[in-house]
Point group: C2
Chain length 235, copies 2
DNA sequence: ACGACTCCGAGAGCACTGCTCTTGACTTGT
DNA sequence: ACAAGTCAAGAGCAGTGCTCTCGGAGTCGT
């Protein structure tokens, strides 16, 4: 009974996976705009209505692809940031993220571009979306010595937001960073936005005609950001 | 004859404008995804095929809206950055850009989100797209004294790119910034990406659950970036 | 092993889209 | 006044997301 039930379930899971794969293939070629349920079904030799047994709507399919994309990028970043000195881990993570984005521009656009439909990024995505920022936070937590920052002091409200953020629980059940100095956390968010700002500009064509190709600019900025974070210089 | 020719032309120009206005209205409500030529035509009391006398395709209509959006945002930034000390102009320009983006999120997504169709951002858009960065560059050129920057040195290739960029001619016919130190220009590009990285994160929902609302984080970052640019502190 | 129940793919169909082409009326310039 | 140019309208094509119904197949308890 279990075997038979799982027989059906396995078939279902497999087909679900195949649908996503085919959808991802079409996404990589034509972009999210042109992805159509009918053509996915056609390519799989089935009829469009059958797809609705697996995904309730086109948006739901896209949401599934979004989660997969977040996870793929997050995994790359996690692997790249595994060992070594903080600055080296930072560099590698940045490059891993950029490499993934450049290799999968349409998937990148799916997750960091304009929200596709009537703006429905459900709760399911946040755990996957948090993986890259969590890599950064882990890296910051393990940075010693704690740097002394200059610059404008945190306002009370911002400090409160940051404190609450540090108390949040990550998907693994632990609090994110209750021990991280608020200044550091704030700078972490800054470099996080900077990293993805550069990627979006590069991939969405905003750099065409200025720093294009972007490789050297990117590397240089990564180093400046490492300084900004107070990561100890590489020896 | 001239009067009559312009009579027709004026009617044409007016209708073109009305089409864009209606399209912008629908854009503001439902987003670019849902904007349809047919519903624009319907709303204007005409038939869809008639629209094709004014815009050769849906993409061309969107391109027109993109240019208008760049111009609207650019104008806001230019007006905001008009007088005062560099740091004050910087602050005001940033807030002008953010205010415009928050007031017109779908138009913002149109220009800074994922490239919409088969990725066709024609040459016509660049002059309008350059207005905001040019505000920043003008501000940097008029900043005295020239700050002394620390940090990693520019690599040769990057320096070359920046030099070429400074020699480019702006839409008004002048070279952009042949006199600007390359270090300053580089930092200008960094803060430019940072600014729009923050805006995209805020508008596309990436900040939900962290620095949300984003006002204080934004203000604080703007100040940090002003320091990073070496803008003299406000007295 | 057989009926009950659930799941699944196929097909038809609705309302909608972008876009093309033709037709007939109107406005222009000579 | 007449030919040329311009325009809105209508029909039509190929495609879309999505719904509903139908018959067949798989699964389950008895």
């Amino acid at each position: 009974m279990n075997a038979s039930r799982t027989a059906r379930d396995r078939a279902r899971a497999e087909l679900t996976q195949e649908i996503k794969n085919e959808a991802r293939r079409q996404l990589a070629v034509d972009g999210a705009q042109k992805l159509s349920l009918r053509s996915v079904a056609r390519e799989l030799g089935m009829v469009s209505s059958a797809l609705y047994r697996y995904f309730a709507s086109r948006d739901e399919l896209l949401t599934a692809l979004i989660i997969d994309a977040y996870d793929a990028m997050g995994e790359q970043a996690e692997k790249a940031a595994e060992g070594g000195a903080p600055r080296e881990r930072w560099r590698k993570a940045c490059h891993a993220v950029r490499d993934w984005a450049r290799a999968n521009p349409h998937e990148y656009a799916l997750i960091y571009g304009s929200p596709i439909p009537g703006y429905a990024a459900p709760q399911d995505t946040v755990a996957s979306a948090a993986r890259v920022p969590l890599v950064l936070i882990r890296l910051l937590r393990e940075t010693n010595p704690v740097p002394a920052f200059e610059g404008p002091p945190l306002t009370d409200g911002l400090a409160g937001q940051l404190r609450a953020l540090g108390e949040l629980v990550a998907p693994d059940g632990e609090r994110i960073a209750p021990d991280l100095p608020l200044e550091t956390l704030n700078r972490g968010i800054v470099v996080w936005t900077q990293l993805f700002g550069m990627l979006s500009f590069e991939l969405f064509g905003q750099f065409v005609g200025s720093v294009d190709p972007t490789d050297e600019f990117f590397d240089h900025a990564i180093e400046q950001l490492a300084d900004f974070l107070g990561l100890p210089p590489a020896r």
